[in-house]
């Protein structure tokens, strides 16, 4: 049996490779494979736009998905009856300013900036913000325990909706 990756040995380049792979899965709508990147005890969240520093579990946030709801979100998005995303948006993610913010015995805290472009029916919007990740090194690579997308937009105008994974 092979050993888990060691968090102390991982470089920013390793982390960037992982985040770019994740972005590619999302841009290609390979959402089931994307879901496989998460641990069972995972959390995906987007804070309320006017309360970016508050716990999304205690505020009227935008997203606060534990594993069960994250799976349901993915199942839903792949259906043609997920009307807001039928036909699917085209998206293009730019991930930059990747930093390893902390190293625990079996986890990495990572920060990054994002710009997500979403194009649909001739309308283009750009979501801008930063990610906070807790990544877990495993034998088969990194896994996501916590993924938080913090929007810089305080008012979702003209975005209107966040029907894609951000």
């Amino acid at each position: 049996m092979t050993n888990n990756l060691q968090s102390s040995e991982l470089t920013r380049s390793d982390v960037e490779e992982f985040l770019y792979w994740e972005a590619a899965l999302l841009d290609e709508w390979r959402l089931e494979e994307w879901l496989d990147l998460f641990t069972i005890d995972c959390l995906y969240e987007i804070p309320a736009p006017d309360r970016p520093d508050d716990d999304p579990g205690e505020t009227f946030a935008l997203i606060h998905d534990h594993r069960a709801m994250l799976e349901q979100r993915v199942i839903r998005l792949k259906k043609p009856t997920a009307h807001a995303e039928f036909p699917h948006s085209r998206t293009r993610r730019m991930i930059s300013n990747v930093r390893i913010l902390g190293r625990g015995a079996d986890e990495l805290k990572v920060g990054a900036n994002f710009a997500v472009f979403r194009m649909r029916q001739g309308i283009e919007v750009t979501y801008v913000g930063r990610y906070e990740y807790v990544l877990i090194p495993r034998t088969d690579g990194l896994k996501i325990r916590h993924r938080k997308a913090i929007l810089d937009q305080e008012v979702l105008d003209p975005h209107g909706k966040i029907s894609i994974i951000l």
Binding site: Q72, H83, D157, G160, I162
Partner: protein
């Protein structure tokens, strides 16, 4: 007026109701709405729990203006226009906070939180005719009912309570859910829609769209082991007019996703306490029906049992709407129930929920479809029009809204439709009949 002779066709005999699609697209009608509806109606500003302490304030846009919603140093609720009486600049540029004084940074005029002008730099240079008392922040009429604060920019409107008519029962059914008061949860959803505001008013009380638009939401619930009330119960609820353009769609409870043993126990205990306080019939109406209430012109108060959504929608153009969503919670909800309600609420509502984006998509597709207006002039809202007992999946709710809208825009009056809201759960302690006496429109 535009060249259209009639905007609403209300044919009671044949049971047909149509709205001309220019109501959603015309610049002229958009302007009339600003003057004849938004400048003359009670408009929701905020909930008193958002300004719990003296000097707490929020700034927000209401009816195209920016207002300061604050609790002054004496504890009184104040709504003031956020515009300096000197040259017009906004005196408060923060979204929220706690302040006793609002100082305009342009020339330094300062106002206390009762709106009084308290400082004018170099004030001696003004003539003796300049009266500071006449230069306080402008305060439009504002009134608060059961914690919900409204403003009215017009002079002729009746009191808020009269205006709310039978909608008061529905507000009471929310406000009475806690003996310690209701609380707006921190976190506000501000988002926009490329569609006319009235489409969202219709949608906010539309039971008919539930299974088509939100099929994936119900599938999610069933995947997680919940049977939605509508499926289990087979009842289609009721649609009722509440007077002055307000209306409600009431349905059996929707079900509670992700319910744990702990939450179930806390919810059961809470219900028992409610029965002891208010009786079974009242409790059932409060906790075991879902109620989609619309308040004319632009507010919705939606209680789906797992959460309570407060929503306003203001047009910025015929095809653009600014939407605000808040979440309301009983202050005394058990500690485990609060995050459970929040999770359910944001999973359904809001711009990243599993339901609301599909609503917005539907309304934006309607707006796109209106491009064919020359060929397809009318939208149909006739469903259930000759029914003696209109249901939540009929369209009486929307017709109530549209009749009031039509009266405001064209002056054409209409009679109520359908039975009055059933208040038998109050056990005969029904307040005076308000529907008949309040009439409609701001002139009465």
């Amino acid at each position: 007026m535009t060249s259209i002779e009639k905007l609403v066709v209300d044919d009671r005999e044949r049971g047909l109701f149509r709205v001309h699609r220019s109501a959603f697209t015309s610049e002229e009608i958009f302007k009339r709405e600003q003057e004849q509806i938004f400048n003359e109606s009670w408009l929701y500003v905020g909930h008193e729990s958002e300004i719990a302490n003296p000097n707490d304030f929020h700034t927000r846009r209401v009816g195209g203006r920016t207002v300061i919603y604050t609790r002054d140093r004496h504890g009184e609720i104040q709504v003031m226009l956020n515009s300096c009486r000197h040259r017009g600049a906004e005196v408060c540029r923060e979204r929220r906070g706690n302040r006793k004084v609002f100082t305009c940074f342009y020339h330094g005029w300062a106002y206390n939180n009762e709106g009084k002008l308290v400082a004018v730099p170099d004030g001696d240079s003004y003539s003796e005719e300049f009266d500071r008392a006449e230069h306080g922040l402008h305060k439009p009429r504002s009134e608060t009912y059961r914690g919900f604060t409204f403003v009215n920019f017009g002079a002729a409107a009746p009191s808020l309570e009269i205006y709310l008519a039978d909608a008061r029962y529905l507000i009471d059914l929310v406000a009475d859910q806690s003996t310690t008061g209701m609380q707006i949860v921190r976190g506000i959803h501000n988002y926009s829609m490329r569609a006319n505001w009235k489409l969202l008013m219709e949608n906010s009380c539309d039971g008919y769209h539930g299974f088509t638009v939100h099929q994936t939401y119900f599938e999610m619930m069933m995947n997680l082991g919940v049977t939605p009330g509508l499926i289990a119960d087979k009842s289609n609820g009721s649609g009722r007019e509440l007077g002055n353009g307000h209306a409600v769609a009431e349905s059996p409870e929707l079900g509670m996703p992700l319910m744990s043993e702990e939450i179930l126990a806390a919810t059961t205990e809470r219900r028992a306490a409610m029965v002891a306080r208010l009786g079974e019939a009242h409790t059932k109406r409060m906790l075991n029906t879902t109620r989609n209430l619309i308040l004319f012109p632009n507010m919705a108060l939606i209680d789906l049992n797992f959460g309570i959504q407060v929503r306003t929608m203001f047009p910025t153009a015929p095809d653009r709407t600014e939407i605000t969503g808040w979440q309301l919670m009983p202050k005394d909800a058990p500690a485990a129930v609060k995050p459970y309600r929040i999770d359910n609420a944001l999973t359904f509502w809001g711009p990243a929920g599993l339901a609301t984006p599909d609503d917005v998509e539907g309304l934006e597709q309607c707006q796109r479809g209106f491009a064919s207006m020359r060929e397809i002039e009318w939208s149909d809202i006739s469903r259930g029009m000759r029914s003696a007992e209109p249901t939540a999946v009929d369209e009486l709710q929307m017709r109530s809204f549209w009749r009031q809208w039509n009266e405001r825009i064209t002056g054409e009056k209409s009679l109520p439709e359908g039975p009055r809201y059933d208040t038998s759960y109050l056990g005969g302690a029904t307040p005076d009949a308000v529907l008949e006496t309040s009439g409609s429109g701001p002139s009465q």
